[in-house]
Symmetry: C2
Subunit: 338 residues, 2 copies
């Protein structure tokens, strides 16, 4: 275990997602029920396609952050359920559109929705889920939370457009890369955490702290994802390894390796990412170059630093099982890479 | 002039859009300013692409309905400006995504955004505008209006998915067609009118009346559009004539002609729309068949009936320059076809 030694509840370190799910009682099952309700439609394709993505779903980390933040603050209403559902629906709509944008054929190791049903269907069902997300937010009754989440949705789209403009551009700076992931990934994590203190009517300092928690966790999450796309530290090639490479996306590992590149290496990146002229051995070669310069190590070190920032942001709250589990979640996100 | 003789202000009949714009004082310029603000982004492609669509824009009929309804009701706040802007942004986002879905190369006789910038860009900028629409709605301060507009956005997407499933299906019934246009077009017109009485805190009867006004106007608008796609009554081939035919969309004129089709005609529709095997003379042949069965006449008669329903819905309001102009607007929408 190479994680940060900041949590004092060992079982939470082992699996903070399960710990948070258990602490939240029936909150997460109720969020699932809301998601199912919102995917309902007499137009058969909608529940079919949405279920493919939502039900096959990931770990529900984003809505779990909303739920856990609200419960940590002692919130006793039901608005956090609607907001958590909205967060997951925005995330799902974004994934659907991302796959169209990236022309992906796989998502989480399964055929992607656009590959099965087509791009037009993915675009429209994404729009449907996006609209349903806003209906759920309205149910929460909080205009301030709506503002935060609609702003996050705009920032995500902005980040995706920015990323698209940078595909294949090997001159991308670290800062440009960080701006992209701040928008496309961290903004939704930040909003997911920030809406809970807003809903609970807590002081601005707590809203800022949870915003920072979510944002830093989101940055760590994306950095780890980008390292995992090249196999992570173990360079264990997972289901989705090499997606970024094939799509010509310049992520932090590549940016770091480019800063130290020999002429020959620069020519390699220019050909494979700039020109997207790749053959089968190129991904292995890319990983070899990244490891030569310690680029995956350095990326994960930065992820750990952001996870530590997320943990620090929790320090203004009383220490209890919620803060311990949220703190452990920040480590967990980084530990995925090992 | 073949319009309905229900309006008593001749100048409004001549151009009710200009009449309403003038009555609304600086409301519409202020809505334009909001639209420009919302398209701003440090990511250059966003204002560029959005401006192409928003600025080149249509007649702004939807936001004008929101503005005019609010002013007709004596609303004196500013929330109607934000809601009108939101309505136009939802419409614009929908157009961007529609062009991707339909693989359109033209929009209002100009190259479509997806044709110039690409499908991924159109999908993402559409998402950005959609999110901005919700931020504007939040500015209006009305959760009830937000509910109505987010519900409309979901219904639009649902209608588009339904339409997609029916492309090339020559067995489509009149009712299925009406369900599609009720969702993809009339829902936003209805919401545009309905949000004003909500914002102004008017009784449910007035909300229902304006909902009906908007919905019926939207149905008339779409029926006319579908007739115009085959040249309308004059069969003057306009810039966009034949789009539906080429895309295999089964609209009301075709549905009506199919009900009366000879075996030979049915074979024609099956080949051209069902199989999308078309040559250059087929559009002319399609128009000839439609005229043989009076299908364009009948479509426009139905449009006139819906416009008359829109006008009737206004009868619960005091007669004044606003109701006269809104009534004239319903005629104007149908008169486009002549």
């Amino acid at each position: 275990m190479n994680g940060l030694p900041l949590s004092d509840t060992p079982q939470a370190v082992a699996d903070p997602v399960s710990t948070l799910m258990a602490l939240a009682g029936d909150d997460m099952p109720r969020v699932e029920a809301l998601l199912n309700e919102r995917m309902a439609s007499p137009v058969a394709l909608i529940p079919e396609l949405a279920a493919w993505l939502v039900k096959a779903g990931g770990k529900r980390i984003r809505p779990l952050i909303t739920i856990a933040s609200a419960r940590m603050l002692g919130y006793e209403g039901e608005g956090h359920l609607a907001l958590a559902g909205a967060v997951e629906l925005i995330h799902t709509a974004t994934l659907l559109h991302d796959d169209v944008v990236d022309e992906s054929e796989l998502r989480r190791g399964k055929a992607s929705a656009n590959h099965i049903w087509g791009n037009p269907q993915s675009v429209l069902v994404g729009d449907f889920l996006f609209a349903q997300a806003f209906m759920l937010m309205v149910d929460s009754g909080s205009l301030d939370a709506l503002h935060v989440l609609s702003r996050a949705a705009a920032i995500i789209a902005e980040g995706e457009v920015r990323q698209l403009a940078l595909v294949g551009d090997i001159a991308v700076s670290r800062q440009s890369y960080m701006d992209v992931i701040d928008a496309k990934t961290a903004a939704l994590f930040a909003a997911a955490a920030q809406v809970s203190p807003i809903l609970a009517g807590r002081p601005k300092a707590e809203e800022d702290a949870l915003y920072t928690y979510g944002r830093e966790l989101g940055l760590a999450f994306q950095l780890v994802d980008d390292a995992l796309d090249y196999g992570g530290l173990a360079a264990l090639l997972g289901k989705n390894t090499g997606d970024d490479f094939r799509e010509g996306k310049i992520t932090l590992p590549v940016t770091l390796a480019l800063e130290k590149a020999s002429d020959e290496e620069r020519a390699f990146w220019t050909r494979t990412l700039g020109g997207k002229t790749q053959d089968e051995s190129d991904l292995d070669e890319a990983i070899t170059i990244l490891k030569r310069h310690g680029a995956l190590d350095e990326t994960l070190a930065q992820a750990r630093a952001h996870a530590a920032n997320a943990q620090s942001a929790l320090s203004i709250f009383p220490r209890n099982e919620w803060t311990a589990a949220l703190s452990a979640l920040a480590e967990f996100v980084v530990d995925r890479a090992y």
